[in-house]
C-alpha cells in the first residue's frame, strides 16, 4: 500500500479577525534539531504590522466598551478553547524544542493563566479606583481606563508568558498586537485560531510571527501604538524600543522571566482618569 502523503499547512498570521498570509509573501520553516522541516509559518512585514494597528483601533473601541463581565466570559472561553486544543499546541511546542511533558505542562499553565485573568476583568478597577476626599464641595473619583493599542513583543519560548501577556492586556480592555519570534511561531499561530473562536471583536487581537527586531521597531515608531510590553528581549533591542517609543510617550513594560504581580501587570497598561463634579442643592 502506498504511504499516505500528509497535508502540511503553513501557519498564518492573525490580523483583523482574519488569517492572511504575509503581505510580503515570505514564509519560514521551523526545523527539527537534525534539520528536518517541521512546519511553515508566515513572516510578517512592517506593512502587516501597520494593517494590524489600523484594525486594532476599531477593535479596541468595541472591546473596551463591552462590559467587564463579558470580557471575563470571553477570556474564560479562550481558556476552554485552549484546553480543547491542548494536544495540538503541545505538539507545536515540541516542534519548538520542548520535551513532551514540559510542553504539556506549559499548555496547562497557560490555560490556568487565562482562567486567572478572566477573573480579573471586573476586579482590578475596584482595587485601583478611589473616591477622593477633596477639601472643596466636589465629588471626585479616579478610575482606570485602558491605554489603547499595545504591542506585545515576545522573543522567548515561554508559552505561558506569551499567553499571560495577551491575557493581561485584553483583561484591561486593551487591544493586543503580539509579535512573536521563531521560537514560538507555530504555537502562537495556533493561539490566533483559539482567540478567533472566542468571540473577541475583530482586530482586538493580532498575532504576527516573524523577525522580532524589525517588527518591534515598526511598533515602537508607530504613532497609533500606545504601549509596548516587551518579554525577554535583548537589552539592545529594549533600549532601541525605548528610544523610539519616547517620540509618542508610550507606556512601556519590560520583563524577562521571573514572577510578577498580575494586578501590577494589568495596571501597567491602564491610565487613571480623575473626574470632578460640583456638589450642591
Amino acid at each position: 500500500m502506498a504511504q499516505r502523503l500528509t497535508v502540511n499547512k503553513t501557519y498564518k498570521l492573525f490580523i483583523g479577525g482574519k488569517f492572511p498570509r504575509s503581505e510580503s509573501g515570505h514564509t519560514a520553516m521551523v526545523m527539527s534539531k537534525n534539520g528536518r522541516p517541521l512546519a511553515a509559518y508566515c513572516k510578517a512585514s512592517r506593512k502587516d504590522l501597520r494593517d494590524a494597528v489600523a484594525l486594532a483601533s476599531g477593535g479596541q473601541a468595541k472591546w473596551s466598551s463591552q462590559s467587564p463581565y463579558l470580557r471575563g466570559q470571553i477570556l474564560y472561553r479562550a481558556a476552554e478553547m485552549l484546553e480543547g486544543g491542548a494536544a495540538q499546541v503541545a505538539s507545536a511546542l515540541q516542534w519548538h524544542g520542548m520535551s513532551p511533558l514540559p510542553a504539556r505542562r506549559a499548555v496547562e499553565a497557560a490555560v490556568d493563566t487565562l482562567v486567572h485573568f478572566a477573573g480579573w476583568t471586573d476586579k482590578f478597577q475596584q482595587l485601583s479606583s478611589s473616591v477622593n476626599p477633596v477639601a472643596s464641595p466636589h465629588f471626585v473619583f479616579t478610575v482606570p481606563e485602558p491605554c489603547g493599542v499595545v504591542a506585545q513583543i515576545h522573543a522567548d519560548r515561554d508559552f505561558e508568558g506569551l499567553v499571560s501577556g495577551m491575557a493581561r492586556l485584553l483583561c484591561g480592555g486593551n487591544a493586543c498586537i503580539s509579535i512573536v519570534g521563531e521560537r514560538l511561531a507555530i504555537a502562537a499561530s495556533i493561539l490566533g485560531e483559539i482567540w478567533h473562536t472566542s468571540d473577541l471583536p475583530a482586530g482586538t487581537m493580532a498575532i504576527l510571527t516573524g523577525e522580532v527586531r524589525e517588527l518591534a521597531m515598526a511598533a515602537a515608531t508607530h504613532r497609533a501604538v500606545d504601549g509596548i510590553l516587551g518579554q525577554s528581549l535583548d537589552p539592545e533591542v529594549e533600549k532601541q524600543i525605548q528610544e523610539a517609543a519616547a517620540e509618542t510617550v508610550k507606556r512601556l513594560s519590560f520583563q524577562s522571566g521571573g514572577r510578577t504581580d498580575p494586578l501590577e501587570d494589568v495596571l501597567a497598561f491602564q491610565d487613571l482618569k480623575t473626574t470632578w463634579h460640583p456638589v450642591g442643592w
Binding site: L127, S128, S130, N132, P133, V134, A135, S136, H138, V140, T142, E145, C147, R223, D226, P235, E238, K239, Q240, Q242, E243, A245, A246, E247, T248, V249, R251, R259, D261, E264, D271, L272, K273, T274, T275, W276, H277, P278
Partner: protein, 488 residues
C-alpha cells in the same frame, strides 16, 4: 459709596496693592547638604520680575560638579538618616514644613507673584495653600505606606531627581517633594531658571524645620543643570514636569538605563459646552480655564467647543466677561490677569498669534490696557480656527482660547480627542448621563464636569497619551515613589 459709583461708571478699580514686606536676597546659592553654597564654577544667572522687566536677584548656576555634590549629599542622607527613620518621624518633619508654609503663606505668595507675574489673588488663594495642603496630606501617609499596597512589600527608590517648571514654582515643588519624602526617598530638586525664589525660600524653611542635612537639596540652573541631574547615575528615580518636547528627550535619554520616571507634560484640553449647560457658569469656567495664571497651565482649557444652537449667545456672554478682566500689577488684589512669565514665552505666544493673523483667522483680544514695561498678552480668543491650524493643535501656554463649534456629542468628542495630548477636559451640561458618557469618552487624565481647573492633594493628576506618564496626588501618587515586590 462714591468710590463704588466711580468703579461702576469707569470700570476701573482703585489700586489695592498687597503690601506684605518680603526679603529678596541679592544672590542665592545652591542648597546642598543643609547649607547654601556657591556653584563650583562660580557662575550665576539673573532673575527678573516679568511684570516690570527689573532684575530681582541672581542665582548660582549649578554645573555637573554641583549636581554630583547634591546627589552625593542626598545619597548619604538616604543611607544614613532618612531610610532609617520610622515613617512616623518622617511624617512629623513634613507636618512641620507644612505648618511653616502656612505661617509664611503671605510672604511666599508675594514672592511667587513677584517672580512669576501671576496675580496675588492666585498665589495667595491657590498656589500657597495648596502647597501647604500637599505637604499635610503626604505627611499623613508617611507611616501608612504599607496600607496603600495591600499584599506587596514596598521600599523607596533612594535618591529622586526632580525638575519642575516655572508656572507654579512652589506648588510643583510641593507636588514633587511631599510624596517622595513621605515614601522615604531623599531628593535633589531643580526649579526653573526663571522662577527660583519660592524654592529658595522653601530651602530656608527646610533648614528651619530641622530636616536632616542632605534629605532635601535644591539647585538652581538652566536646562543643562536639569539634564545633568536627570542623567546622573546616582539618581534612582526621575520626575519631571514641563514641556512635552523635554519630556520626550528625558524618556529617550533614560532608554536602556532601567531608571524609572514619571512625566507630567503638556496639554491642549477642550471644553465641551452643550446647549443645556448653565451658560453663565460655563462662561466663568471657560474664563478660569484659560486665563488662570495667564494660561501658563498644562491642563488649561485652551480649546472651546460650543454646540451650534447657543454659539452666538455664548460668545456674546464670553466676550463681555473677558472685557471685564483686570490686567496689570500682579501684586494688586484686583488683578485677574498678570504678566507673561518670561521673555522666551512671550516670544512664543506672539509667534502663534502672528501666524494666526497671517492665516486670516479671526483673532479677538480683550480691551485691557497693556502696561508699558514687562511682558503682557491681552486675553485672546481665536474664532472658527480649522483643526489643522497650529493654534488649535499645539500648546500655546498663554491666554489664548481657540473656539470651534459642534452639532452632536459624537462630533464634540471626536474633536476633543483629535490631539496627541490627553491631560484634561471639560464638559458642561445639565444632563447627568451625558456627563458620564462624554466624560468616559474623552481621552484625558483629568475630567472636569461643570467646573474646571480644580486641584486637591487627594485627587490624582496626570495625563494620557503624550501628556505624560504617572500620577501626582492621592494614594495613586504614592505609586511613583516606591518599588514594590512580592511579600516575604
Amino acid at each position: 459709596m462714591k468710590e463704588a459709583i466711580e468703579v461702576f461708571k469707569t470700570g476701573v478699580y482703585a489700586p489695592a496693592p498687597e503690601r506684605t514686606p518680603v526679603h529678596v536676597a541679592a544672590r542665592y546659592g545652591l542648597f546642598i547638604d543643609g547649607a547654601f553654597h556657591e556653584a563650583e564654577a562660580g557662575g550665576s544667572r539673573p532673575v527678573e520680575n516679568p511684570a516690570t522687566g527689573e532684575r530681582l536677584t541672581e542665582t548660582a548656576e549649578a554645573g555637573e560638579a554641583d549636581v554630583d555634590k547634591a546627589v552625593g549629599a542626598a545619597r548619604r542622607a538616604f543611607e544614613k538618616r532618612w531610610s532609617r527613620l520610622p515613617g512616623k518621624e518622617r511624617g512629623k518633619y513634613l507636618y512641620r514644613l507644612a505648618r511653616l508654609i502656612q505661617e509664611r503663606s503671605r510672604e511666599l505668595a508675594v514672592l511667587e507673584s513677584l517672580d512669576t507675574g501671576k496675580p496675588i489673588r492666585e498665589s495667595r488663594d491657590v498656589d500657597v495653600p495648596l502647597a501647604a495642603a500637599h505637604f499635610f496630606y503626604y505627611a499623613g501617609w508617611a507611616d501608612k505606606i504599607g496600607h496603600a499596597f495591600a499584599g506587596r512589600a514596598v521600599r523607596p527608590y533612594g535618591v529622586a531627581g526632580q525638575v519642575i517648571p516655572w508656572n507654579f514654582p512652589l506648588l510643583m515643588a510641593a507636588w514633587k517633594m511631599a510624596p517622595a519624602l513621605a515614601c522615604g526617598n531623599t531628593l535633589v530638586l531643580k526649579p526653573a531658571e526663571f522662577t527660583p525664589l519660592t524654592a529658595m525660600a522653601l530651602a530656608g524653611l527646610v533648614q528651619e524645620a530641622g530636616f536632616p542635612e542632605g534629605v532635601i537639596n535644591i539647585i538652581t540652573g538652566g536646562g543643562e543643570a536639569g539634564a545633568a541631574l536627570v542623567g546622573h547615575p546616582g539618581v534612582d528615580k526621575v520626575a519631571f514636569t514641563g514641556s512635552t518636547a523635554v519630556g520626550k528627550a528625558i524618556q529617550r535619554g533614560l532608554a536602556g538605563t532601567g531608571k524609572p520616571y514619571t512625566l507630567e507634560l503638556g496639554g491642549k484640553a477642550a471644553h465641551l459646552i452643550f446647549e443645556d449647560a448653565a451658560l453663565d457658569e460655563a462662561v466663568e469656567g471657560v474664563v478660569n480655564g484659560i486665563f488662570f495664571n495667564q494660561g501658563h497651565v498644562c491642563c488649561a482649557g485652551s480649546r472651546l467647543l460650543v454646540q451650534e444652537g447657543i454659539y452666538p449667545d455664548f460668545m456674546r456672554r464670553l466676550e463681555h466677561r473677558i472685557g471685564t478682566l483686570v490686567m496689570g500689577d500682579p501684586l494688586d488684589k484686583n488683578t485677574d490677569i498678570g504678566a507673561i512669565n518670561n521673555a522666551p514665552q512671550m516670544e512664543r505666544i506672539s509667534c502663534y498669534l502672528a501666524e494666526a493673523r497671517e492665516q486670516g483667522l479671526d483673532v479677538w483680544q480683550g480691551g485691557q490696557a497693556v502696561p508699558e514695561r514687562g511682558y503682557w498678552c491681552r486675553p485672546t480668543v481665536v474664532r472658527d480656527a480649522p483643526m489643522s491650524a497650529r493654534i488649535v493643535r499645539e500648546e500655546v501656554f498663554g491666554p489664548v482660547l481657540a473656539v470651534q463649534t459642534f452639532r452632536t456629542a459624537e462630533e464634540a468628542v471626536e474633536k476633543a480627542n483629535n490631539t496627541r495630548y490627553g491631560l484634561s477636559g471639560g464638559v458642561w451640561t445639565d444632563k447627568g448621563s451625558r456627563i458620564f458618557k462624554v466624560g468616559s469618552a474623552i481621552r484625558a487624565g483629568v475630567l472636569w464636569a461643570n467646573t474646571f481647573n480644580k486641584f486637591d492633594p487627594t485627587a490624582p493628576f496626570g495625563g494620557f497619551k503624550e501628556s505624560g506618564i504617572g500620577r501626582e496626588g492621592g494614594w495613586h501618587g504614592l505609586q511613583c515613589w516606591v518599588r514594590t515586590s512580592a511579600k516575604g
